[in-house]
Amino acid sequence: MNAAVLEQNTLEAAASEIETHVSEPLAPALPSEQEDVGLLYETYRSLLLFVAARKFRIPESEAENLIQEVFLSYLQVSVRIENVRGWLVAAVCNASRHFWRAQGRTESLPDDIGERCDPSSTAVADRLALEMTVHQSLGYLKPKCRETLHMHYFEGRSAADMAKEMNTTSRYAEKLIHNCLKNVRTIYMQINRVKR
C-alpha cells in the first residue's frame, strides 16, 4: 500500500506553488528540520478523514488506518515537502483509491470512483478543505435552511419548482435560497476566523 501512496510524492502542490518552485531542485530534508508528525496528524486528521470517509466513502475505522499509513509514508519521504497539506491530501486520495481497488476484487466499486479527487488537478487540497468547512457550516444551519439549500443545489431543483412545493411565490423561494446561502457563508467565515 505504501507504494501506492508514494507513487504521487512528486506532485500535488497548488498551481501557484508549482509555478514558484518548478525550477528549484527538491532539497533533502534534514532530520533536525522535520516537523513533528504528531502535530501534523492533529492538524490535518479532520481533513484527511473527510476525504477518505466522505469523498471516498471508506468506513471510518479503515479510513483511520489509511491516514496512519499516509503519515508513515510521509516519514519515509526523503525530500523536503513544501506543501505538506497538498501532499497529504493527494496521498490519502491515492490510498483511498487503492483501498477500493483492493476491495473491488470482492465487491463492486462505487460508480464514480474514477472521478473522485483526481490528484493531478490543481489546488485539490484547497478545494477539499473548503468542502470540509462547508460540511461543518451546514451542520450549524437551521434545518429549514439546510433543506432549502439541499433541494436547490444538490437535488438541482429550480426556485419555481421549490415555490410550488412550498406553496409560495418563485420570488420568495429565490429570496429564501439567497438568504440561506448568505447564512452558510457567514457561518463559514466564522469557522474560518476561529481556525485562524
Binding site: 532530520p31 504528531g38 479532520s46 470517509a53 460540511h135 439549500l149 443545489y153 457563508r185 457567514t186
Partner: protein
C-alpha cells in the same frame, strides 16, 4: 507600526454575490492575498453544495486519537538516523513521553536478534528519556531492556550494572513479582557469562519458580534454559540435557526454540555424542533460518564449523569460519569476531597453512582498530599474538589456547561458543 487592513466578512460576501467583474477591478483584492483567498472560497462555496460529501451527515469522530499521535511520534524518532535522534529530541522535548519510551523498549526487543547495535541504541535512548520522566517502573523496564542488549553484545559488566539498577528501582517501587522474576533471569544470564555459574544456576531456579507460580510458560522455558547453561558450565551435562529437553517440550516460541536446539546440540557435543550434536546443530540452523535471525544463523553455523574442526574436516571448517566472521563484523559483535578468528587460526594450523593465519589476523586487527577498540582489549591482543606467532613460525595449540583465554577475559556469550 504598520497595520494591515482587510475586508470584513460583510464586504467579502457582498462582493461574492455582486457583479462578477467587480472583484477584478477591486485594487485591494488584487493586492491582498488573504482577502483574495477568502473571497475565492466564498465565491466558489455554492459549487461545493453540489458535492455529496458536504451533505453526508454520518457521524465521524472529531478528536485525533492520542495513542496515534504518540505512535506516529515514536515511528518518527525510530526512523531517524541514530546521530540525529538526540538533536531531534532536544528540538522537540514533547516527544519525551512514557509512550515513546515504551516504543523504544519494544523496538530494542525486536531488533536484538536482527541487528544488535540498533537494539543497543534504542535501549540507551529509552533509559535516557525514562530517567528524565522519573517513572521508576518505566525506568526499570528501560534499564532491564538495555541491560539485555548489553549482555547480548558481550558487554557483561555494563549489563550487570544496568540490570542491578533496574532491580533497585523495582525493589523501591513495591516489588512487582513478575518484574523481579525477569530481573533474576537476566542476572542469571549475565552471571553465567561472567563465570559465576553457581550463582547463575541459583538465580535461574528462583526465576523458574516465580514464573511457574505465575503460569508464565514462556518464561519458564527461558529459566530452564539458563539453568541448563549454568549446569553445562559446571560440567553437569546430563542435568543440562534433561533441563533442555523439558524446556524444548514446553517451548512454543520459534525464536526460543532456535536457541534451545543449539543449546541441546552443544550439550550433546560436550557429552561426546557427535552424531546427536550434528543432528541438533543442523536443526538449530534450520530454525534460525526460519526466523531470519542473522546472529542466530551465524552462531549456529559457527558451532557446526567447530564440530567439523573436531572431526578433522578442517578445510570445510575454515570456509564456515570465514563466512561467519564476516557476519559478526557486519553485526559489530566484536568478541565473536575475535573468537572465530582464533578458531579459523586453529583450522589453518591443522592444515599447516600459517600464511593464511597471518593474513586473517591482519584483517581482524584492522577491523578492531577501525572499530576503535583499544590495544588493551583482550580480543585485539589475542589476535595480535596469533599473528605474531604464525609469522615467526611458532604457532601451536598451546598459543591458540592462551590466545583464546586472552580473548575470553571478557567472558563469552552464552550462545556463541564451545564449552572449553
Amino acid at each position: 507600526m504598520i497595520t494591515e487592513r482587510h475586508y470584513d466578512d460583510e464586504t467579502l460576501i457582498a462582493l461574492a454575490e455582486g457583479d462578477p467583474a467587480a472583484p477584478t477591478r477591486d485594487p485591494h483584492l488584487q493586492s491582498c492575498r488573504p482577502c483574495a483567498e477568502t473571497f475565492e472560497a466564498l465565491r466558489t462555496l455554492p459549487s461545493t453544495l453540489h458535492e455529496e460529501a458536504v451533505w453526508d451527515r454520518t457521524p465521524l469522530s472529531e478528536e485525533p486519537k492520542r495513542e496515534t499521535v504518540e505512535w506516529l511520534r515514536g515511528k518518527q524518532l525510530l526512523a531517524l538516523p541514530p546521530e540525529a535522534r538526540r538533536p531531534f529530541l532536544a528540538a522537540h522535548p514533547h516527544f519525551r513521553t512514557p509512550a515513546i519510551v515504551q516504543m523504544l523498549i519494544d523496538a530494542s526487543d525486536k531488533a536484538i536478534t536482527r541487528m544488535p547495535p540498533e537494539a543497543l541504541e534504542y535501549g540507551k535512548l529509552a533509559v535516557e528519556i525514562a530517567e528524565e520522566l522519573g517513572d521508576p517502573m518505566l525506568h526499570a523496564s528501560a534499564l532491564r531492556e538495555w541491560g539485555y542488549s548489553l549482555y547480548y553484545t558481550g558487554n557483561f559488566r555494563e549489563a550487570l550494572q544496568s540490570t542491578e539498577r533496574a532491580r533497585a528501582l523495582i525493589a523501591n517501587s513495591g516489588n512487582e513479582v513478575r518484574d523481579l522474576g525477569r530481573i533474576e533471569l537476566q542476572e542469571a544470564l549475565i552471571l553465567s557469562a561472567l563465570g559465576d555459574h553457581q550463582a547463575a544456576h541459583h538465580k535461574a531456579c528462583a526465576a523458574s519458580d516465580i514464573f511457574e507460580a505465575l503460569h508464565d510458560g514462556e518464561r519458564v522455558v527461558v529459566a530452564l534454559r539458563v539453568q541448563a547453561i549454568a549446569a553445562n558450565r559446571l560440567r553437569q551435562h546430563n542435568l543440562a540435557l534433561r533441563l533442555l529437553q523439558t524446556a524444548n517440550d514446553r517451548c512454543v516460541d520459534p525464536v526460543a526454540r532456535a536457541g534451545l536446539l543449539q543449546n541441546i546440540a552443544v550439550t550433546y557435543r560436550e557429552l561426546g555424542d557427535v552424531e546427536s550434536a550434528m543432528h541438533y546443530f543442523v536443526q538449530a540452523l534450520q530454525a534460525a533460518q526460519k526466523i531470519g535471525s542473522a546472529p542466530y544463523i551465524a552462531k549456529a553455523r559457527w558451532h557446526l564449523g567447530r564440530l567439523l574442526l573436531s572431526q578433522g574436516r578442517c578445510n570445510e571448517a575454515l570456509e564456515v569460519f570465514t563466512s561467519v566472521r564476516e557476519g559478526f563484523v557486519e553485526m559489530q559483535m566484536h568478541q565473536d569476531v575475535a573468537l572465530v578468528t582464533i578458531d579459523a587460526a586453529q583450522a589453518c594450523l591443522a592444515v599447516g597453512d600459517t600464511d593464511s593465519v597471518v593474513e586473517s589476523c591482519r584483517t581482524a586487527l584492522k577491523y578492531f582498530i577501525d572499530a576503535g577498540l583499544s590495544q588493551s582489549e583482550g580480543c585485539l591482543t589475542a589476535v595480535a599474538l596469533i599473528r605474531e606467532a604464525a609469522a615467526e613460525g611458532r604457532l601451536s595449540d598451546h598459543i591458540l589456547r592462551y590466545a583464546r583465554r586472552r580473548a575470553d577475559r571478557r567472558p563469552r556469550l552464552q550462545f556463541a561458543f564451545a564449552l572449553d
